[in-house]
């Protein structure tokens, strides 16, 4: 949320001078220095003291034409001062700055491009037609920045015509964290209806693989079934992960071991999550009451394979889809998969053998089986001759 946008320029007579400022409806106007007589006088305390930071709003030439950010009084002032040199100006230069005021702690990377764009636009306007230095047209700046503030805060985008030949087009794009690496043994689960969003203009590999993303196939399997290159498939999945269309789970197998995490208490305290769980997990009409599901979830423990657990709890599992039961827990974070890692019993490892690279403690059986396209039994057989311990974690 932008708190305020203001336009300031260097006035040869009055020094630093902020003729136009607009604030978000709920917040007081920011400036203390003299305003032109047409603006309403500030009725509430300013957001920050302009004098203390005026050197960074209207700085010396060296700091111009770059993004300058100042934090003051718990506010962040993002500005892009521009300096135009021309003999027609008094003192041969015209310095101005359109600055945005935000709360200090707010994530502001999207606003950097906004400030840059606005500054470049007005620089072009000033160079072409003296838009800002001409007192007549400069009056319109107030209405303009007011409109920009309203639109960006309400719609995250704005498209405002300035005159017949110029418009301000701004859109705020959120910054997402870079996605973690996707591995061959990860299983993507869709959280949006990709088929509905997709159209013929999408990337070819993406179009090929989307039908196979069903929450059961691993990335490797998807690339095989779709007959697409594995690396391209992986990149597509990473893109979908970046935009939040997918979550990742592990390969479902009855030899796997699952256990509760500390997040199970969140499930117990949230009735809507419990409803969701009951709906997702039961496949026949009398829905299993939540405490029975909780009992089942908490009976999963380290060292107990899913197969054994199913056998022990066969009667209690009537009407419950085990695969959905497990994947609900993994996706919501209150179950975790306990993987098996082969580690050498002694520190020395025979570097020559092809399996040596898997013995550094960073690769679990899911990964090894997917890479070698072998079953767990076969892989254990391969480790036979060596002194290898299997650690679950």
């Amino acid at each position: 949320m932008i708190k305020s946008i203001f336009y300031s320029r260097f006035h040869p007579g009055k020094g630093h001078y902020s003729p136009q400022s607009v604030s978000d409806g709920n917040h007081p106007a920011p400036i203390t220095p003299p305003l032109p007589p047409t603006s309403p006088p500030p009725t509430s305390p300013p957001l920050f003291d302009f004098e203390t930071v005026s050197e960074y709003i209207i700085p010396k030439q060296e700091l111009c034409d770059r993004l300058v950010t100042v934090c003051t009084n718990k506010y962040r002032v993002l500005g892009y001062p521009v300096c135009l040199e021309d003999r027609k100006y008094e003192r041969n230069e015209f310095i101005f700055n359109f600055a945005i005021v935000l709360d200090e702690g707010v994530e502001y990377s999207t606003y950097k491009s906004v400030v840059r764009k606005v500054a470049k636009l007005f620089k072009a306007l000033e160079e072409q037609s003296g838009f800002l230095s001409n007192e007549v047209t400069a009056v319109g700046v107030f209405a303009l920045i007011e409109q920009v503030l309203e639109d960006l805060n309400n719609y995250s985008e704005c498209m405002i015509p300035i005159n017949e030949s110029n418009t301000i087009n701004i859109k705020l794009f959120p910054t997402y964290a870079p996605p973690p690496q996707v591995k061959a043994f990860h299983v993507p689960v869709c959280t949006v209806q990709l088929e509905n969003l997709m159209d013929v203009n999408w990337d070819l590999t993406m179009q090929k693989i989307v039908p196979f993303i069903d929450g059961i196939n691993s990335v490797r399997r998807i690339s095989e079934l779709a007959d697409a290159d594995y690396n391209l498939t992986r990149k597509c999945i990473e893109h979908l992960l970046y935009y939040g269309c997918l979550v990742m789970v592990d390969v479902f197998q009855f030899g796997a071991i699952y256990a509760c995490t500390a997040e199970i208490s969140i499930l117990v305290q949230d009735p809507s999550l419990q409803e969701e769980c009951q709906a997702y997990v039961s496949y026949s009409s009398p829905r299993t009451p939540f405490p029975f599901l909780l009992q089942l979830y908490t009976s999963l423990t380290q060292g107990l394979t899913l197969k054994k657990w199913c056998m022990e709890n066969a009667t209690k599992l009537k009407g419950i889809d085990v695969r959905r039961f497990i994947s609900f827990g993994i996706v919501k974070g209150f179950l975790y998969r306990s993987h098996k890692y082969p580690v050498p019993a002694e520190e020395k490892v025979d570097k020559a053998s092809p399996l040596a690279k898997y013995l550094d403690g960073g690769h679990h059986f899911d990964e090894i089986c997917t890479d070698l396209q072998a079953s767990e039994k076969e892989v254990i057989g391969m480790f036979e001759g060596r002194d290898v311990q299997i650690v679950h974690r």
């Binding site: 990742m248 997040e263 019993a345 960073g362």
Partner: protein
């Protein structure tokens, strides 16, 4: 000189920009600048050093010495330059920077690091591997403890060798060094602060202050005391890549015990109390030391029990039936001559029942007397509503009075937020009594085991 400015140049990643700059400013820049301001005000230290550096630069300019030689000279001769370089090198590596200014002011600076996590990293949110995983809150979660004091039922696990720490303490001899050294020697990860205080005579408050000091300077971590009756598992966040480096260290410390990977394999099976892995009573101290070693390196974490109370259909039906009976015959004369107190008690019960009946009727859509009930969980037994209290009362009805009394005491821990292991310690009750009580309510308790 009217103004000086220590400038730190950072390039943090986009999404962490503000938090990183704020942290650097709060913990390093502000403190360093303040120290320099003090020294400058005292005897013009900063100006002297600045002049010294400028003179060295001029000299180098004249004599044409190389930049490498010049920087070496400056670092040798100017303590301010050296301090700045120390801060740069150490803070960039997330270590503690110790600087010594003007031959008189020693300053230690560090950025706070995350020492443990309670949420396990998932496939899509990877975190630093090897961080200890636990929900044990070392500052205690009730208001009995003062702010910022480590809970008295915790203890310290040293992250460096005790000998090294004692040497460091001896090197910086201050008035409190003696008691600090005594505390460090007396401190064992199997005894809580309270027990250490009782055994070696240092007052508890002093111990808590010293412990907090040691934790702040990254010499130790606060953990619940380790015990062979507790259950430990291989930590889901263990960094197995480090095993390679740890195996020789382990072998040097514990040459006669089985190898590290083998031990971890034993701990990988179904969780059992640690005592099942100890071959004999004589091995116990060595194995507890091994456990401390494993926890210190984040390979192993304690598996704790958390419990919720579950109300079954039968209980709900029984309570509803009883209420209906009460409602139908409120004017029945007492069966035998009863004293006034009993009468009052009955009235109170009746009042409670009628209010819970009305709440039941308003909740249930089928006000049919044979209404269907579903099992449910009581989220906060300590603050039970009236209907929940009547369910609880029905659950405890047939139990002997001592079990009932103990149950009342521990009921506040049965909301899934408190580890059962700490009930015995907090309430001063024997573990087997707690087990007995919880055993009596076996059908009504759901346990979850996690860290």
């Amino acid at each position: 000189m009217t103004m000086f400015h220590v400038v730190f140049v950072l390039n943090p990643p986009e999404l962490e920009y503000h938090s990183r700059t704020q942290e650097m400013f709060d913990y390093v820049v502000k403190r360093f600048a303040r120290a320099l301001k003090y020294e400058q005000a005292k005897d013009g230290y900063v100006w002297r050093e600045a002049e010294k550096i400028v003179r060295l630069k001029d000299k180098a300019n004249h004599e044409g010495t190389s930049f490498a030689d010049l920087s070496k000279d400056i670092l040798d001769q100017s303590s301010l330059a050296y301090a700045i370089s120390r801060i740069y090198i150490d803070i960039s590596q997330s270590k503690i920077a110790h600087v010594f200014l003007n031959n008189s002011l020693g300053l230690s600076l560090q950025m706070p690091i995350i020492t443990e996590i309670s949420v396990m990293p998932s496939i899509t949110e990877p975190q630093v591997p090897g961080l200890p995983l636990t929900t044990a809150n070392s500052f205690g979660d009730d208001d009995a403890e003062e702010d910022n004091m480590l809970a008295k039922h915790f203890t310290l696990l040293f992250l460096e060798d005790v000998d090294g720490i004692l040497k460091d303490i001896a090197a910086e001899a201050t008035e409190s060094s003696a008691s600090l050294a005594r505390f460090v020697e007396a401190c064992k990860p199997t005894m809580s602060f309270l027990q250490i205080s009782n055994s070696c005579g240092i007052p508890l408050h002093e111990i808590q202050v010293m412990a907090r000091h040691l934790v702040h300077w990254r010499k130790a971590r606060a953990i619940p005391p380790i015990h062979q009756r507790d259950t430990y598992i291989v930590s889901p966040n263990a960094d197995l890549r480090r095993l390679h480096a740890l195996i020789p260290i382990y072998k040097a410390l514990f040459p006669t015990i089985q190898s590290l990977p083998k031990l971890l394999t034993f701990l990988s099976g179904k969780p059992k109390p640690f005592s099942t892995f100890i071959p004999s009573r004589a091995h116990r101290p060595a194995y507890l030391e091994i456990l401390a070693f494993l926890i210190r390196h984040g390979l192993v974490t304690q598996l704790r029990n958390f419990a919720w109370l579950r109300v079954t259909k039968q209980i709900k039906r029984a309570v509803a039936a009883e209420e209906r009976r009460m409602k139908k015959s409120p004017a029945d004369p007492p069966l035998n001559s009863q004293s006034q107190e009993k009468e009052k008690e009955r009235e109170k019960e009746l009042a409670k029942m009628t209010s819970s009946i009305s709440s039941l009727l308003s909740h249930n859509n089928d006000s049919d007397s044979e209404g269907e009930y579903e099992d449910s969980i009581i989220l906060e037994p300590h603050q039970a509503s009236s209907i929940e209290s009547s369910w609880l009362e029905m659950m405890t009805r047939d139990q002997p009075p001592d079990i009932k009394a103990l149950f009342e005491r521990i009921i506040k821990y049965l909301n899934g937020q408190h580890a059962i292991e700490k009930i015995a310690v907090r309430e001063g009750v024997a573990r087997k009594d707690v087990r007995r009580v919880l055993g009596a309510f076996d059908g009504f308790v759901i346990y979850a085991r996690h860290w």
